[in-house]
Symmetry: C2
DNA sequence: TTGCATAATTTTACAGTGTTAATTTACACT
DNA sequence: AGTGTAAATTAACACTGTAAAATTATGCAA
């Protein structure tokens, strides 16, 4: 035990703790894992983590941030496929779904509704912002290349929300009796592709206009 | 204390307990409320509820089922507005959003990802099925009246998922920097309306077909 | 009316939780 | 070698869900 922990020592322990916590939290939920269990797997005392994190919530926030970072990295990688904006867009969507189903527990952790907002944890805010950025970037390209029409920011949020909804309903088992997920996803993509296709009349993201006649 | 609790006595106590639990769970999350706290508000001992529910999870399941029932009732009421399928559809969508924002905590409880599936709790399964049914019924009408084209079941799931995604991202604070919610919701509706509008070419819910030309 | 059987309820108890305060350990420096 | 002190551990506290034991209070038979 060095008299003063170096920054790298601290970072190392924090990372090791996060790795263990991420796996355990993902398996049994944050409430299903006790500090004593984490400590045992780490080979330290139950209170040692309190020198590295304020409390359990801070650990959870760090774990969520790490998950968001891996998620963002997966999306960013997908966006680097060669091809036009349409191809990239499809690749990002597929990467999104692939991540969610490959690591459902991480995804649950990231978007858990019962978690407090990221207000208290800047690292978490940064990581979510990074993921959001990538999720929106490809839509900007779609609009820039004239494949879709509308406000890219609005479209980006709408696409993201829709896909997220599909994923979480699936993860929550609420699509039990539904047709298979791929059909739902494909249909959603097609609806959006047609719905936002540039046409002669007004852009779809314009404010609704009163109809002239029925 | 009657020697044998009548069925109505049991039902009464269960309901009273659920009312208290729903409010508390919604306020602070199920994990944030202890059996002793519930018991105190009910004026009974901490273990009395165990004569009426197997455990805390069963109470939570009952509370969630009750929330789903109120949710379903709100949607059913909205669907009874007079007008064509389009008007009803819009009414249902608005009722959905209104409920979610009027009772965000109930909504969170209903769709909490960390909750176990409804496999163990038939009442919960019934209530969710009821809500799902109403959410899908108006889409069937849209297709029946020729306002939209496609498989109503598939479209219903897609619309539901998309709206749910929008709502939960908002509730999770992930739309912080986004344009206001109504704009997102309107845009989504317009995209779907255009995307599923019946046209000369193939229905959007058909399997994707290779384009004849670029 | 008095006992009694027994359902309903409460009290007690236990193992486990997150976290703080006290204590011990072990290093860096004089 | 001795000492100040950061780091780690242990001890302790108030709390949790819930099983088991103890208590209460009722409907019915005598």
């Amino acid at each position: 035990m060095p008299r003063n922990l170096s920054d790298s020592d601290v970072a190392e322990f924090r990372q090791r703790l996060c790795e263990v916590a991420e796996r355990r939290f993902a398996e049994r939920g944050a409430d299903g894992v006790s500090m004593r269990q984490l400590a045992q797997e780490l080979g330290c005392s139950a209170t040692t983590p309190y020198r590295y994190f304020a409390d359990k919530d801070a650990i959870l926030a760090a774990v969520r941030a790490a998950a968001f970072d891996r998620f963002a990295a997966a999306l960013e990688a997908a966006r680097r496929v060669k091809g036009d904006a349409r191809a990239q867009s499809r690749a990002v969507g597929e990467a999104y779904v692939r991540f969610a189903f490959a690591e459902p527990n991480a995804y649950r952790l990231m978007f858990d509704l019962t978690q407090p907002g990221e207000a208290r944890y800047p690292e978490l805010a940064r990581a979510t912002a990074r993921a959001r950025l990538t999720m929106q970037a490809h839509v900007k390209a779609l609009v820039a290349e004239g494949i879709q029409a509308g406000d890219p920011e609005v479209l980006g949020y709408v696409y993201w929300a829709a896909l997220h909804g599909l994923v979480v309903l699936q993860l929550a088992g609420k699509l039990g009796g539904a047709p298979d997920f791929k059909l739902l996803h494909d249909t959603m993509n097609r609806l959006f592709a047609r719905g936002a296709a540039p046409q002669a009349d007004a852009a779809v993201t314009a404010r609704p206009q009163r109809k002239a006649a029925r």
